[in-house]
């Protein structure tokens, strides 16, 4: 009788232990598999790593840039620091939509309150969610908060669902077939791909002639985008932040005059500065035969340094920004950034010297 009871308890114990172990192993395995299966955005297409990288940056940022590739490829944050002592961050991402910029601002305010927020207006042309892959690159990197939830909610295209964002595993599980070396190398930690949000390219491809823009039957900027611009304006006002609207100096995709007029009207109505740098290309000294790496769509490091120098002068003159070069703790961190910046530039230049093109960055680096 006694042994029977003992046996019973032993068996129950084994069952209990194996059940608990089973649950634990499952949860752990799913967590690990999620880490393994989500895209890493470490080579070629690095744009998906940018939003997340912000949380690793420990400096205070007085200037925050929001927008798409027209900010993250066109403005050198290091130049802003070196020339003016501005400590800035670019929370840019590929085809960042206006509401995504708004929610990224909300998100950033949870960590710090910049003095100036610079928003690039090109995205105002989009009134509706555009593409899942861009959504993913912008949204997956955000830390969880109501802002992320709302950003996802506003951005989903048909066929996307919230649950796939909550558990990216559900979206990416079928990548088991396409895993690359990078996926295995960066399961748990990721390499840095930007310098405070600036994505560097050191190659050169002169600007070509763009086709003439397609005439539109209606040039009204979508109301939904303008509403979020309004919310951005109000959020800045509540937090004593100066909002600045810019249009980057690149010409394609085309920025219609009619759109420009509407943004100017907004700038006039709400007393928000708006600068269209397309008109200032010559003044800032942009030479589009050397300052772009993709025939004029985006600036390379030479262009980005010129544009940063120009916009930096405006920012220092217009707002009371701290010269962080004078503040040792911050300066020390920036020195590290500069080291990284220089090394990255030198590595790219070396590859250009060797192959005549970049192999470890950009399209050539995309793994298949």
């Amino acid at each position: 009788m006694e042994t029977g009871a003992k046996k019973f308890t032993y068996k129950t114990l084994v069952m209990a232990v194996s059940t608990v172990l089973g649950v634990a192993v499952t949860v752990l395995a799913l967590w690990f598999l999620q880490k393994l299966l989500v895209p890493k955005y470490q080579r070629g297409v690095v744009e998906g790593s940018m939003i997340e990288e912000y949380y690793d940056s420990n400096e205070p940022h007085e200037v925050l840039f929001l927008g798409d590739c027209e900010v993250y490829e066109n403005i050198s944050t290091v130049t802003l620091y070196e020339n003016y002592g501005i400590s800035s961050y670019i929370r840019g991402s590929a085809q960042q939509l206006t509401w995504q910029s708004y929610y990224l601002l909300e998100d950033t305010l949870r960590y710090e309150t910049p003095k100036v927020v610079v928003f690039n207006v090109l995205a105002l042309k989009y009134g509706e969610p555009q593409s899942e892959s861009y959504n993913r690159m912008t949204l997956d990197g955000m830390r969880w908060s109501s802002s992320k939830w709302n950003a996802i909610d506003a951005s989903m295209t048909d066929g996307e669902s919230m649950i796939d964002y909550v558990f990216p595993f559900l979206r990416y599980h079928s990548r088991w077939d396409e895993l690359t070396r990078t996926d295995f190398e960066h399961v748990l930690d990721k390499d840095r791909v930007t310098i405070n949000g600036y994505y560097m390219r050191a190659d050169v491809m002169p600007e070509a002639e763009f086709p003439s823009p397609m005439p539109l039957s209606d040039y009204t900027l979508p109301q939904s985008a303008m509403d979020y611009l309004m919310r951005m304006y109000e959020l800045c006002r509540e937090n004593d932040i100066e909002l600045v609207l810019i249009k980057a100096p690149t010409l394609y995709p085309y920025w219609y005059e009619q759109w420009d007029a509407q943004v100017r009207q907004f700038s006039y109505d709400y007393n928000v500065p708006y600068i269209n740098y397309i008109y200032l290309r010559d003044i800032m000294g942009l030479d589009m035969s050397t300052d772009t790496y993709d025939a004029g769509l985006h600036l390379n490091i030479y262009g980005a340094e010129k544009f940063a120098d120009y916009i930096g002068r405006y920012l220092t003159n217009s707002f009371e920004l701290t010269d962080y070069r004078q503040i040792p703790e911050v300066a020390q961190q920036w020195e590290d950034d500069i080291v990284f910046y220089d090394a990255l530039r030198d590595a790219q230049l070396a590859e250009l010297q060797q192959y005549g093109e970049l192999r470890s960055w950009g399209a050539n680096a995309i793994e298949s």
């Binding site: 089973g22 395995a29 598999l33 299966l37 559900l170 077939d177």
Partner: protein, 528 residues
């Protein structure tokens, strides 16, 4: 809410927890009713009206019928002494007519709703085709989810109560639960009231073993469905959407894919259904018994979609073949056509009707009708040839040889797979053409020209599907040869059981063909 959607999984998880944690035993059926109606509500609120009307009519008429039968019995008993045989007979005849009328009313309403929603446009289409001239316009109807399944359940209930072989349910809400029980709403099985009511209103109390069995069965169901069926669908779609590009050997590929896909989809769904019921302490009748191990087509139909087969046997085949008119016809034909042929006439007529009905039940389309009748033809042919087989087997002593059994199984499998082509191509002409092309231009070499890689499945997909099929096959094989249920074997070695659960779950999670990139395909029997 599809079985394969995450909301459904959460729905079931929450239900099972609430069911055991918060609801006392005798009220559990109430929770199931709310869950079932909720399930239906979220699919489409309008469905509720249909299921409600069907359940209510069947319930009320069954109730009246039973009362009437009881009174009739009492009357007969009370007046036994006063009635002579003639009066008794007369009384019986009139009362039987009343019960028959009641039954007819119930069936007309129930089957009428089914016929109207599911077949009205098929009907109009065919009238238009025949009539010519100004075509009639189609009717805008909804086909409630699972209407064929729950209607068949109410019909069998009505008939059984009228026959007096089943006691009527006196609580409408309990009856509504029988009709709407959500796990079997999507693709069956077609439960009998007598079977399901035993545990539906009085489920087994919480039992860890039972719940574990149910759990692993659900996982296995998802494994079959998501890893195999929904993956093969992609290839099947490519192959059948442009049949003329994929002839000959590819038709054979279609046969094999579809055999695996249909089996995994359907039995996987049933595994999920029965597994959920088992977790809830409810016993649902098995619907499959290793169908692909059948040695002839008749056996196949006794092992595939069993609850449908027995339904047709009990409520169409038997009543038809033992009706007085049929018995008379049988006598007549035996006298005029000789015993050998005469004996068969009635059976074949009934059988023809059953397969016609089976075909139509599967869908409002001609290819289903043809498919049903082809089954009839094959069954009849094998029935007629049986004596010949017997002699052949006897002469060579084949019955005792293991390899011959394997041959019979393979033969039946290929035969059934060929018939299923009707369902693949959904067009009678195309099916015959494609089937023919297997014999005229097989050209097996084409398969290895890399075209298999262009069907939408990658090498990895083939590998995963192949391995998964091997696993499913081995589990079936063990059951077939040794009669062992792998689940029980594993449960007795509990850590292995847990390990299997973990592996199944991870395999489904990673290799399942769900989410973006995979079309959410519905259960095959969903709208039946």
């Amino acid at each position: 809410m599809l079985f394969t959607s995450l909301p459904f999984v959460l729905f079931v998880a929450i239900l099972v927890l609430t069911y055991y944690a918060f609801v006392p035993h005798n009220e559990r059926w109430g929770l199931l009713l709310i869950a079932s109606l909720g399930f239906y509500f979220f699919a489409d609120p309008r469905y509720l009206i249909f299921i409600f009307v069907t359940a209510l009519t069947a319930f009320i008429i069954a109730d009246i019928t039973e009362d009437y039968n009881a009174k009739r019995k009492a009357y007969l008993k009370a007046n036994k002494a006063d009635m002579d045989a003639d009066v008794k007979k007369k009384y019986k005849a009139t009362t039987t007519r009343v019960t028959r009328l009641l039954l007819a009313l119930s069936l007309i309403i129930n089957l009428g709703i089914l016929a109207y929603t599911k077949y009205i446009n098929f009907f109009i289409e065919n009238i238009n085709a025949v009539r010519g001239g100004e075509p009639l316009s189609f009717v805008n109807v909804i086909i409630p989810m699972g209407i064929s399944f729950y209607t068949f359940q109410t019909v069998s209930y009505s008939i059984d109560v009228a026959r007096g072989t089943c006691k009527a349910q006196k609580n409408f809400w309990k009856f509504l639960l029988f009709v709407s029980f959500f796990p079997q709403l999507v693709q069956g099985p077609i439960s009998r009231y007598e079977d399901l009511s035993k545990t539906l209103y009085d489920p087994k109390p919480f039992d860890f073993r039972n719940v574990s069995y149910g759990f692993i069965r659900i996982l296995f169901g998802y494994f079959k469905k998501l890893v195999i069926a929904d993956r093969l669908v992609i290839g099947l779609k490519t192959l059948t959407e442009s049949p003329d590009e994929y002839k000959g050997a590819f038709v054979f590929v279609v046969m094999m894919f579809y055999a695996a896909q249909l089996y995994c989809d359907f039995t996987g769904g049933i595994d999920i259904t029965i597994g959920i019921a088992q977790m809830l302490g409810i016993t649902v009748k098995e619907n499959f018994d290793l169908p692909y191990f059948s040695k002839n087509i008749k056996e196949y139909w006794n092992r595939w979609h069993i609850t449908m087969g027995t339904w047709f046997t009990d409520y169409i085949f038997f009543p038809l073949s033992v009706s007085s008119r049929m018995l008379k016809l049988s006598k007549w034909s035996r006298n005029h056509l000789g015993n050998a042929i005469g004996k068969r006439v009635t059976v074949y007529i009934s059988c023809f009707c059953v397969w016609l009905a089976t075909g139509i039940w599967h869908g409002a389309a001609w290819h289903f009708v043809v498919w049903g009748l082809m089954n009839f033809v094959v069954i009849m042919a094998s029935q007629e040839l049986e004596p010949l087989y017997e002699r052949f087997h006897g002469r060579f002593g084949l019955k005792t040889k293991g390899w011959y059994g394997a041959f019979e199984i393979l033969r039946t499998f290929l035969l059934m797979s060929s018939l299923k082509l009707f369902d693949c191509y959904r067009d009678v002409g195309v099916t015959f053409r494609m089937f023919g092309s297997m014999f005229t231009t097989f050209n097996a070499g084409k398969l290895f020209g890399g075209e298999l890689m262009n069907l939408g499945l990658s090498g990895g997909d083939y590998l995963v599907a192949g391995l998964a099929i091997v696993i499913v096959f081995l589990i079936s094989l063990v059951k077939f040869l040794k009669g062992t249920d792998v689940r029980e074997w594993l449960y007795d070695r509990y850590p292995l059981f847990v390990l299997s659960c973990v592996c199944l779950l991870l395999a489904v999670a990673v290799f399942g063909a769900y989410g973006a990139g995979f079309d959410a395909s519905q259960f095959i029997y969903n709208q039946f």
